[in-house]
Amino acid sequence: MEQIFTLAFLTSFLSAAVSTAIPLAYASMGEIYSEKAGILNIGLEANMLAGAFCSFAVAYTSGSLWMGLLGGIVGGLAVCMLHAFISVRLAQNQTICGIALNIFLLGISSYFLKILVSNNPAFPQVATFPKLAIPGLSAIPLIGEALFNQNILVYILYLLIGMSQVLLKHTQWGNSLTAVGEHPRAADTVGIRVYRTQYLAAAINGMLGGMSGAYMVLAQLGVFTENMTAGRGYIALAVVIFGRREPIRAALAALLFGAAECMQFRMQALGIDLPAQFMNMLPYLITMIALLGSIGKQRDPESLGKPYIRDAR
């Protein structure tokens, strides 16, 4: 037990927690934009899987990590725009569409993986983004290693979190986005282009979701496996709610969930005498507790999940 409290253990635990939190943070950051604009996209899992598979496929065939990242972004974007088309243009049920995409992507990504690796006896692998220690900052005890000795995608995320926070809370553009999610008719009457704003928000969601999946392949594992996201898209949705749709809060929430997931592995490794099934439950248990804790503390955008039809009477 006392192993838990050594500095070395905590440092490596934190480092792993940050690393695990990154895909959740990327995906939830995207979902914040989407939900602010009134589109409830449950298909984060689909965005991530598309991003993961495309980044792997492109990186594997081209040999370039950056091309892989681009591929991941495009993959996530494509899936998310399909969701946006169905929910904005066709005004269909956003939840059902999201679930359908999740299931569809699970199948099709596994299928394409088979095609991709069918003529390759060895299991294909790609390189991963190397760690870049930021001089000075990475030497801070305990947190330096975790926060500032990471790969480039982590630093990009830091920038995105900061930018999103300013953009959503302190700019006219953020207000317009909020107006579209709260009261699209009001937004329309002051000349905000409701549909365009929603498509843009969906595009941001798709690209960030794609990066989330790309991170798992290009920074964590170097491979794509069937259902490799394993429910993280759903946890990212919980992160959005727990983070009250604010980028910095959501990033911290992602860290909490990341820590819970790492704890599961660490405790198993330490041989703590709890059934493995209980450990596996931990992240989801925390999700439930977190959701219970946020009851009544926030309200959803007024027209979240409701399609806007301008000509309706």
Binding site: T171, Q172, W173, E182, H183, T189, V190, G191, D311, R313
Partner: protein, 504 residues
């Protein structure tokens, strides 16, 4: 606007409508619900596209593809249901969607100053830092007008602006309109209230069934002839109210009832209703009226206090038990609470009774008995079209309301809670609903009439109670000499003082 045509599935909302408005005039657009006023204005504002016809602005033919074009041309619109974001501040709402200097960032001090200058010029005092959800309805309306003016509106379209205001607020609002006019703005005022047209407008255009019937100078006309033009026939007579029969025991007695929603007290009230009287509940919408109706019908439960009804304590009784004891409820929201729009007329008429014999026997519905009952309802209340199998959604508002009345009101109804029973109905249907209520009262039922329309309360009630932020400001005996100003100031939150005279 010339020859505007706009059709929606099943209705022609505008049929070759013409409308012309001069600079610096207040032009009233008069018509019943469904006459096509709002549709016409939405076309002018670019929200709807006309099927044919054209819009001329300052002599030139224009086509507005979206509100953005209309705003750029100098047209502002205040919708009947405000288009403000409740969670945002007044300032954020006013500049919403604009690309001001410093975009995308917001220069709060500079913008505050220019808004305040504008507000001062037109007498539209409002605190720009407050969130819209903290404002009264009158203040929200001022924000809406400021929002349009801030965008440089020369023509202001106001859709039913006074429907939500107290009499005092209406007076203040008219002052603002006069100020706008003197500054050279044109105003289109949509309304169906004659008194307002006579008081404020220069010219009036009358719409009926989607066509424009007449344009006239306000001073050349009078309310009676306007009304005749608007509804196309003589105004129906007012219902007759027989003198109140007097002093039985109270039918309904609310004792220190407190209703809490989201931990905030929405209602704290004591009130009696006697058999054979109409108690009118006056007050601006959203001051606890809905909660009052729902706590009596058992939909909400009171956190404190007791409800006595017909000599028994019904505080804990369920909705169904209360209905069986003769409490009828006419909900203010036909589409949401009152009816199931996707079921047919027969099913809607049976909603309260389907469990009872003879409509259900041994757990099976008796179609013949149900048909009999629906046909008698349709005949008695003249519901059109008279087909029990028609989808509720396809009926007009007036006929939907009649269906609710038919279902709720029967010989067994001892207490009728009527919540905004004539909201959204045209004058003909309104008169019919009012005389049904008067009939029930004369028969001996106690009626709680909740209405935001003060005229309705004044013309029907025996006693008038004024509700403000969930509390009674006082209960008055209705009479011809009752001062509307007194009720107005009570609606604005001034309680009735001890021994105060309320008569002129």
């Amino acid at each position: 606007m010339k020859g505007i045509v706009k059709a929606f599935p099943g209705v022609i909302a505008n049929n070759h409508v013409n409308l012309s408005v001069k600079a610096g005039e207040i032009h009233a657009l008069l018509g019943e619900n469904g006459a096509g006023k709002t549709t016409l204005m939405n076309i002018l504002y670019g929200l709807y596209q006309a099927d044919s016809g054209s819009v001329y602005w300052k002599g030139e033919k224009v086509h507005f593809h979206s509100p953005l074009d209309a705003i750029a041309a100098g047209i502002g619109m205040v919708h009947q249901h405000f288009t403000l974001i409740p969670t945002m501040t007044v300032l954020q709402n006013i500049i919403l969607g604009l690309k001001e200097k410093g975009y995308p960032f917001i220069k709060i001090t500079e913008i505050t100053e220019s808004i305040q200058a504008l507000a001062k010029r037109y007498g539209l005092a409002v605190d720009v830092k407050k969130r819209v959800c903290e404002l009264s309805v009158g203040e929200q309306q001022r924000v809406e007008i400021l929002k349009a003016l801030y965008r440089g509106a020369e023509l202001l379209v106001l859709d039913e602006p006074t429907a939500v205001l107290t009499p005092q607020e209406t007076c203040e609002f008219f002052e603002v309109l006069r100020r706008l006019k003197s500054e050279g703005h044109a105003v289109i005022l949509i309304t169906h209230r004659m008194a307002e047209i006579m008081a404020i407008s220069d010219r009036v255009t009358i719409l009926r069934d989607g066509s424009d019937l007449a344009v006239m100078n306000t001073q050349d006309t009078d309310p009676a002839s306007l009304a005749k033009l608007m509804i196309g026939s003589e105004l129906p007579e007012r219902p007759v109210i027989e003198p109140h029969k007097g002093d039985a025991a109270p039918l309904l007695e609310l004792k220190d009832i407190v209703v809490k929603k989201e931990r905030i007290s929405r209602l704290a009230i004591s009130l009696q209703v006697y058999p054979g009287e109409i108690v009118g509940i006056a007050g601006v919408d959203g001051n606890g009226q809905k909660e009052l109706a729902e706590v009596i019908c058992g939909i909400l439960s009171a956190s404190q206090g007791t409800i006595q009804y017909d000599g028994q304590d019904i505080t804990k009784a369920t909705v169904y038990q209360r209905f069986r004891r003769g409490i009828a409820y006419i909900s203010d929201d036909r589409h949401h609470d009152g009816l199931v729009l996707d079921m047919n007329l027969r099913q809607n008429l049976m909603l309260r009774k389907y469990k009872l014999s003879p409509y259900t026997k041994h757990g099976c519905l008796n179609r013949n008995k149900m048909d009999e009952f629906s046909s008698s309802c349709i005949g008695k209340y003249q519901i059109k079209p008279p087909s029990p199998g028609i989808k509720m959604r396809l009926l007009s508002g007036g006929n939907q309301q009649k269906a609710i009345l038919a279902r709720e009101i029967s010989e067994e109804a001892k207490l009728i809670v009527a919540c905004q029973p004539t909201r959204g109905l045209d004058i003909g249907a309104t008169m019919q609903v009012r005389s049904i209520l008067a009939e029930q009262r004369n028969r001996g039922a106690g009626i709680l009439l909740i209405s935001a329309d003060l005229d309705e309360i004044l013309s029907l009630s025996d006693r008038i109670a004024v509700l403000f932020r969930g509390q009674l400001m006082g209960v008055l005996d209705n009479g011809a000499e009752l001062k509307t100003e007194t009720i107005g100031s009570m609606m604005g939150g001034r309680p009735l003082a001890e021994g105060e005279t309320t008569y002129a």
